[in-house]
Amino acid sequence: MGSVRPIRTEGPKLGERDLELARPAGRAFVAKSTVMSADDVRRALRRIAHEIVERNHGTDDLVVIGLAAGGTPLAADIAKLLVEIDGREVPLGSLDVSFYRDDIGTRSVLPNSVTKVPVDLTGKVVVLVDDVLFTGRTVRAALDALADHGRARAVQLAVMIDRGHRELPIRPDFVGKNLPTRRDELVMVTSDGVSLGGYAEEAS
């Protein structure tokens, strides 16, 4: 056998999965009403940051951890505001709780990011940040996940929207807005604000 030119094999174009996940064909999110504007969200974040500083008498021992994926950008904003208010750097992390959910195997739960906890949480006060508090099951899973990173002195919960329908005894410490909803409605929190809506009809 002589030397044969290597054949260039055709690979598919990859890396488009996230987009697909966010907008699967025919099941897109359709907003029905705007609940908070971008300014409203910004002001709520600032208030929450002040409340966090007030409750904890400063930012000593604080660690801000966003729940992936919705809570991570909000957590980053809050961490930035805390520095502005108190002048000290606050460790920022993110938590993907998919591995800790109680509904694994009954439906698909796929991690959509890698957990990053920058410090040992033993003795720290953890502020968990999420976009929407609904059944409380994500927060329950997050509490289990946190325990594997050390024994926090206290865990507090900050959410932009509390939409009710709790299935577990969990309540938030800091809330952007209480929003009464129906179970089948969807709440979307983005940097452009908060909107209430549902899924588009199956297009087929």
Binding site: D18, G105, D148
Partner: protein
Amino acid sequence: MTEGLLTIEDLGAQGIQRVLELAEACEEISERPIPKVPTLRGKTVATLFFENSTRTRLSFETAAKRLSADTMTFTAATSSVTKGESLRDTVETIDAMGVDAMVIRHPSSGAPALVAKWVDAAVINAGDGQHEHPTQALLDCYTIRRALGLATGSDFAGLRVTIVGDVRHSRVARSNVAALAALGAIVTLVAPRTLLPPSLEGWPVGATSDLDEVLPETDVCYLLRLQAERMVGPLIPDLDEYTRRFGLNRERVRRLPKEALILHPGPMNRGVEIDDDVADLDRSVIVDQVRNGVAVRMAVLYLLLGVPGALGSERAFDEAAVMMGAERG
């Protein structure tokens, strides 16, 4: 039959990407002070090895344990197989005990595919004869991606991978050719003609017998083990001759581009296909391969046992993803 992982072809490019992506989250778990999550609590994973193995079996067991699954170990040498129990009776017995996944290594090509027809458990091929070893290829792709610092979800378009050695008997080579090609790599096989498959028709690869010629155009040099136990007849004149022409030594490493990686699936025949000091170079990522094996196998176990339909139909997966988005909270 529940879905399983029998070949790389079953998985396709999208399936491969899904495993590699999830493996990153699994790698993070392994780095924690308590490297264990409750994800697969209550699930049972049985490892059935009809052929010897160190790393694959331990790697699967470690992966299962880090996800809190229970593990059962079956080794042919200490089982009723020695009393003449058939493969079918053996796996049906284990299936009857209620296992969720069977990890099978067998000297006969196609054995895991047969078992998958007989049992309810998800069957994972951990190496069958000269056929496939899909999780090895997945962990190799993951290792290459990590070692080259490629972003999550990126493919291997244009990456030049040279696979050297006993391709003919190698299930590792078959699975790797399939996986690397699916991700867009340019694969070249280097071996004496007797150690290449009789026909390469349909293989998305180039082939040559001149290692020194391809080394300067190689980004990843993958060395295969010379499988003395599978050699039938006089396929190579003698070991020294093989080592002179195909062994990776210091001098050949100098012909490789500076950033090129060296991989080996293990176990290594030091001094045959790879020189002692070459195996211990920084660019040899052989130990990373072993470490990454645990993360990749965690990802495979999780996708098979924790996410209904994740490795099956695309539609089931997309619907599941929608629900995931909708029901967070």
